[in-house]
């Protein structure tokens, strides 16, 4: 009996693990993944983010929890998806973030948020070229306490 059960469970789990290989293009899922991380040749990185400014126009760093949760990559991905959906979605994200920032005493100096994308020279960045090659502005919103 244990042989039959073992064979069925093994075929099911190994088959499901191999399954992500077959769709074209392959589809990532969980826990059965095609493990695409690090596979693609990246160009210069585009950093999608929400930047905050105080009344004097100085940049203020806000924590990723203001956008999503404590995971920076989750926050960045959230910004990316909003930008990809178009300006209304970027504006919505900006306002949602502004509401959270406005309620957080730590960021009381923040008066304005911008949803932006910056492209950097990946390798050149570490030789001192840290200015974005190009920037895109997707949404701006005010922060009200």
């Amino acid at each position: 009996m244990h042989r039959v059960f073992g064979a069925v469970l093994s075929v099911a789990l190994i088959g499901a693990s191999l399954w992500p290989l077959f769709p074209d293009p392959p589809r990532d899922s969980f826990p059965f993944s095609n493990y695409p991380m690090f596979a693609r040749k990246k160009g210069n990185p585009i950093v999608h983010r929400v930047v905050a400014y105080d009344v004097a126009g100085n940049r203020v760093t806000i924590s990723p929890e203001m956008i999503a949760n404590d995971e920076v990559m989750q926050a960045s991905r959230t910004v990316y998806h909003a930008i990809r959906k178009g300006r209304p979605a970027a504006k919505r994200l900006c306002k949602e973030t502004a509401t959270r920032v406005g309620r957080t005493p730590e960021f009381q100096q923040v008066v304005r948020l911008e949803v932006i994308s910056d492209r950097f020279d990946a390798v050149g960045y570490f030789s001192g070229n840290q200015t974005p090659i190009r920037s895109w502005h997707h949404a701006v919103c005010e922060v009200r306490p």
């Binding site: 042989r3 073992g6 789990l13 969980f30 993944s33 950093v47 990723p64 960045s76 998806h81």
Partner: protein, 304 residues
């Protein structure tokens, strides 16, 4: 099929092993998972307060049309944490084993359903699923305290084989993805060099912790063909780990260093392989567990 061939196939796929080996794997994986849940529990529960329009379900969570309420997410995460304890202890395992596996599968998949699929928990979830459905609580378990030690049996062997194959398949798939997407060019090192630079630039600009060593090494172009070739060979060559314990040791140690490299060069922490738990089905886990039990620290807490 002749009896001899049948026995050979049986020994290959259903080897006779002691109950302690499978039980020890459950203890290691259970302890790791419990620690993971204690550390990440709040993070897992926070997904309950994400706005519904960001919901992009994957896997089993695709059954939902809309996200669960925050209260339900907190309740499921709490249930996952609490059922991890009887799983690790092997207590009332027939109930708590499968229940914990289902809850862990759900809560970790729910985490992936918000636009970002992480790749750090896949094997942990699959190992727990296998352990929960097998006789992994016949040894080193509260359920087994009143029973005499069971004799070695094939039912303890095939779950270990299955976990070992799942481990190997995950690495082969990662290698195949690189070859499909970037081709053999991946080995020339430029892809991994730019990837390391890309990842560190993104983290610095987002204000996250980055990997200073990786950022510094990006300038040495000659290093990356070596790293690229070694990484790809480790992934594609993973099935060699199934051919014997010596090869399993070589591959596991090399792969452990590969993950250490990913940590120090990209600040990406693959905790399950770095803890050693991912590789444990390839080895005599009961020997490792006995060594842990003999340590002064465990003895001080009443370990026998």
């Amino acid at each position: 099929m002749s009896g001899q061939w049948r026995r050979r196939l049986d020994d290959l796929f259903f080897p006779v092993v002691p109950a302690e080996r499978l039980g020890a794997v459950r203890v290691f994986v259970g302890a790791f998972t419990l620690l993971f849940l204690v550390i990440r529990g709040v993070n897992l529960a926070e997904y309950g307060s994400f706005p519904a329009h960001r919901f992009q379900p994957v896997g089993v969570v695709s059954l939902l049309d809309a996200p669960l309420s925050a209260g339900m997410v907190w309740a499921l995460v709490a249930a996952t944490v609490f059922t991890a304890i009887p799983f690790a202890l092997g207590w009332r395992f027939r109930v708590f084993g499968p229940l914990f596996a289902a809850l862990l599968w759900w809560t970790t998949t729910y985490r992936q359903s918000w636009g970002m699929v992480f790749h750090t928990e896949n094997l942990m979830v699959l190992y727990v699923a296998v352990l929960s459905l097998t006789h992994s609580a016949d040894a080193y378990a509260m359920d087994a305290r009143e029973r005499s030690a069971p004799a070695p049996h094939r039912r303890y062997g095939w779950p270990l084989k299955l976990m070992a194959v799942l481990l190997v398949v995950s690495y082969v798939l990662a290698g195949v993805a690189k070859l499909r997407i970037s081709g053999w060019e991946w080995m020339d090192g430029e892809v991994i060099r730019v990837q390391i630079a890309y990842d560190n630039v993104r983290k610095i600009e987002l204000g996250a912790m980055h990997a200073p060593l990786g950022a510094w090494l990006v300038q040495f172009g000659w290093l990356f063909p070596i790293l690229g070739t070694a990484s790809l060979l480790l992934e594609i060559g993973a099935p060699f780990a199934l051919l014997g314990r010596r090869l399993a040791w070589i591959w596991s140690i090399a792969t452990w260093f590969f993950h250490l490299g990913v940590l120090v060069m990209m600040d990406i922490f693959f905790a399950f392989p770095l803890s050693g738990c991912a590789f444990i089905p390839l080895f005599k886990a009961e020997v490792a567990l006995e060594r842990v039990r003999r340590t002064r620290w465990v003895q001080a807490f009443g370990g026998r």
